[in-house]
Amino acid sequence: MPAPLRPPGVYDRTPAEAAEAAAVSSVLIAAMSRYGYQSVETPVIEYADLFLTKSGDEAINRLFTFEMYGRQLCLRSEFTASAARLYVERFQHEPKPLRWQFAGPVFRYESPGKGHSRQFTMLGTELIGATGAAADAETVGLAADGLSALGIRETTIYMGHLGLLNRALDHFDLDRRTKRFLLSQVENLRRPERGRAYVEKRFEQMVALSANAESLVAERAMLGENEASAEDIAHALELLLRSANLGTTGSGRTNEDVAQRLLTKSRRANQQVTIHRALDFLHSVVGIEGAPQAVFHELDALFPMDAAMRSLLDEWRETVTLLTEGYGLDAARFVLQPGLARGVNYYTGFVFEIHSGGEQLCGGGRYDDFIRVVGAAQDTPAVGFMYGLERVLDEARRAGFRAAPNAPQVLVVPIDSADSIYAVQVAARLRTACAVELYPPPTRNPTQAYTYAARRGITQIVVIGERERTAQTITVRDARSGAQTMLTLEALLASWKEPRP
């Protein structure tokens, strides 16, 4: 038999690593609990559709999917989709807000060779049914608080605001999809190797019409007063399809559908000037980065302000004030990046990431539309964030966090098989006070057991032989000094109750 293989991209945790992960998790969980967040558990397996709803999220093409009897299932890649599903299913009529915390493994099919994990651990919160700066600030404040409980204090908090970007684009009179396209390109605008030229090219591809289609639209437009109507084009298309022997549009789309889209596309192509203005605007937003006051100042000047935008900006300002004055976070740790555009098809308000040592430790933001999209009957505002445990672990270790060793304090060593029952009874009594390990099998040569105890970091050894059994006593051996004393079980338990030197 060849050695069994571990699938690539997934890792084991040894006892020491598992203890460390559990210790760090429990610190974070305790922090979330201190803010009133209740633990919720959702299944690892969900319908893939649920995750596809977060359309545009780059995690989608890394979803682990599989099919069972015609249903497309997946391993969860994050918690928010499951949280929304659970909310819609059972909590729509509960009083709000709901404060939930999540912890557990999530899965992403990262390509191998980049050293990427395919399973990692996420912990975080969702605050459902709460709007405003208070909820936003609580999320960021809690995220930072959890990290500082681990000793990670030298962090930078990056903040952006997709609500502002979205609202600002409304001033450009763009159709919904073009707007959505532009928002999705903010990340590309920020990347130096892509930039504006790349985005413009993408847009041109989006509106490009083939010669056939172009002439069809143009001809119809000549006939009409202003612009061709969908019916006109559908009719012309019909003639074209027949004359060119191109077959049919298939069952899915009618000629009218194709015609309608041709029109939309050509209208979109005519938006060139507007698009360029919008791109100019986004480009200047992407360039802004810095300390809160400076950035707010610049935004005041840049944004075409209307009442809605002003209130968004005021709210953001208030969030930052709450964090610095209320939560006591040093203003110098904040970097505002209005172009920070994580999850543009999903977040609707402020977004944030906390970084330390060049790594992103957590991230989140406000998503006011998502739960409605998943199926809630009413608008349900929500805000949340997630830690990546593996990254937090590395930073916590660097910051000096050490997990307490979890070796048992006592090793019970029976000498003979006749001593086994008494040894089990002794162990059971001792376990009422501390962790006890039973050394198997009974051994005539306890030296081996002593070596084992030393390696496990066990401090006290209880030896049970015939003498102890008959006398109903025990012999206690100090693992370090080797000093032995025979005493009763009760005496040992009593000695533990006394304050130790």
Partner: protein, 353 residues
């Protein structure tokens, strides 16, 4: 399997049917690796020039499955099937990725009548139309579920339903059980006949026949590595040989040097190193004023054959004979070198025993 490895035997799977079956047999024959199938109904065979190899005939898809789980060591199959079933190739190593036959493309095709659609960006938009106006997903018929899904997501199409189907996929839009397809196309004829067109940026994969190995077998069993190297060596030499012709022309001249100089004056006929010139002991003896007869032999690239003949003619070459080159063995097989890099074996360990 354990028994085989104890015997140091190596299993090589070849396509048992389909488009790659005949061409694979022809290809191996052209490499002097003729497959001996004692009984055409049997699923095993041997290759006399590779006595350590047991040949198994399998369907191209089964070859990949069995390579992944290690039931077979080596196989010839299509690149399309490899990428479809082996995902990101963790358990497989593509030993030779283009055997230069079985060429075809995996493409995204839509009805030609969708004159509003030329690129994947259009599919993004159309998929949203479907969801918003028709309240259903765009349906894509394909046999290549994994590659189709990945490609669509990569291009920002997230709302679609894949319809798994095994035959006559190109008819799906006409028959009405899908809106568009992802399928193989060799020449595009079948697509055109079914009123479909390939999107500009809709080519998912350029596929062809390839030689694939189980990664573990290659790393851990010297006999498998050795067989892979032998196959690579002979395949590289054969494929390289197809690029060249050997030309021999009779030319009259005063000295071998003069003829060599004249032949090599054109880079097309300067050969791999230079011409070989040898005297001809002609039946009509005696030296005329033009000198004596020599035979000049060169190797030339096949795409320059006619130009090479013309040049030889222009310097007085007659009776030019042309022979196809069977093999070109370079100092080291480029494929073998690549394999060494792939496996990350230190050069010394990778040397042949």
């Amino acid at each position: 399997m354990n028994m085989l490895s104890a015997d140091r035997r190596v299993t090589l799977a070849l396509p048992s049917k389909g488009a790659l079956q005949e061409p694979t047999m022809d290809f191996l024959r052209s490499c002097d690796l003729k497959v001996l199938q004692t009984n055409p109904r049997q699923y095993t065979a041997t290759i006399p020039t590779l006595p350590q190899v047991d040949v198994l005939f399998q369907r191209v898809t089964d070859i990949v499955y069995k390579l992944v789980d290690g039931a077979i060591d080596l196989g010839i199959t299509g690149l399309d099937v490899v990428y479809e079933q082996a995902g990101d190739l963790e358990d497989l190593i593509i030993v030779h990725e283009n055997l230069r036959y079985g060429g075809c493309q995996l493409v995204v095709a839509v009805p030609e009548a969708w004159i509003d659609a030329d690129a994947m960006a259009d599919v993004v938009d159309i998929s949203l139309d479907f969801r918003e106006n028709k309240r259903r997903n765009l349906r894509v018929a394909t046999k290549f579920m994994n590659q189709a899904r990945q490609f669509l997501h990569q291009h920002g199409v997230h709302h679609f339903t894949l319809i798994e189907s095994d035959g006559a996929i190109e008819a799906a839009p006409t028959l009405g059980y899908a809106d568009m397809i992802v399928d193989l196309s060799a020449t595009g004829t079948t697509l055109r006949e079914n009123g479909l067109k390939v999107l500009n940026d809709g080519i998912i994969l350029e596929s062809n026949a390839c030689l694939v190995a189980n990664a573990r077998a290659l790393r851990e069993r010297p006999e498998v590595l050795e067989t892979a190297r032998t196959l690579l060596e002979i395949i590289d030499a054969t494929l390289n040989g197809r690029n060249y012709y050997q030309l021999t022309a009779n030319i009259r001249g005063h000295s071998p040097e003069a003829i060599a100089h004249a032949v090599a004056s054109n880079p097309i006929t300067s050969g791999l190193q230079g011409p070989t010139v040898a005297p001809i002991y002609a039946s009509t003896t005696g030296e005329s004023d033009d000198g004596q007869w020599y035979s000049a032999t060169i190797i030339c690239h096949s795409k320059h054959l006619l130009a090479a003949v013309a040049h030889l003619r222009s310097i007085g070459g007659t009776q030019t004979t042309v022979i196809p080159v069977r093999y070109v063995f370079l100092p080291e097989s480029p494929g073998s070198q690549r394999l060494t890099e792939l496996l990350g074996i230190p050069a010394k360990a990778a040397e042949r025993p």
